[in-house]
């Protein structure tokens, strides 16, 4: 199992703060691909331009990274602080 957290407008359009899904193995890119196959709505919501970065176990990742069972993944939309 892995936990996925959503932030900002993603949390709102998906109406989902977090979820747990089964995950044996695969990398961060494969996780996104999997989520996008759920429906055209998911594919659109998680389009490349809607995703700023992924965070695994509270560490921001800057390139494709393996995801293992037990990991917590956060999906961050483009940031607008400051």
């Amino acid at each position: 199992m892995i936990k996925i957290r959503y932030f900002g407008f993603l949390k709102e359009i998906l109406n989902l703060e977090e979820e747990e899904i089964k995950w044996s193995k695969g990398n961060s890119q494969e996780l996104l691909t999997f989520l996008r196959t759920r429906s055209s709505f998911w594919a659109e919501s998680l389009s490349e331009e809607n995703i700023f970065r992924l965070v695994i176990n509270k560490k921001v990742i800057y390139e494709t990274t393996p995801i293992s069972s037990g990991d917590e993944i956060a999906i961050l939309p483009p940031v607008t602080g400051g």
Partner: protein, 153 residues
Amino acid sequence: MFWVKIQEAPFDAELPNLDQKIQENNCGALVSFKGIVRGYDEKDPLDYLYLEHFPEVTEQEIERILQRAQGHWGIRSAIVIHRVGRLNIGENIVLVMVSASHRKAAFEASQFIMDYLKTEAPFWKKEFFQNGNSRWVEAKQSDIEQKKRWALS
């Protein structure tokens, strides 16, 4: 000395102490930037802002930005305070303070920190308008452009 703080409370009352805190031995220049919630965007009059963030990750990312600024400009100290939660018009939202030996380093580093705060730190703003509408703010192309001028090693 790096000091990063995410808080709901305003920081104006803290400013005099921060000035003392950052003014290190033999630093000649102190730059501070304060961001304030503006009353209207292009279209509708704003009621208030709501800021969400990603606790722990926010602090890490800001410290990473400060480390890069120190590596490049050799700044002495930096303080970042960023507010979250509900923010009314006219309230302060972000504070960046940088001390350095000379003014060029202090000015450039504080601009760099602001540009990166805007485009790297996990904050999300939602605007609540006086007409009852609300919307998540979209990332600004101009912020992304401003960031590009820093071609740091």
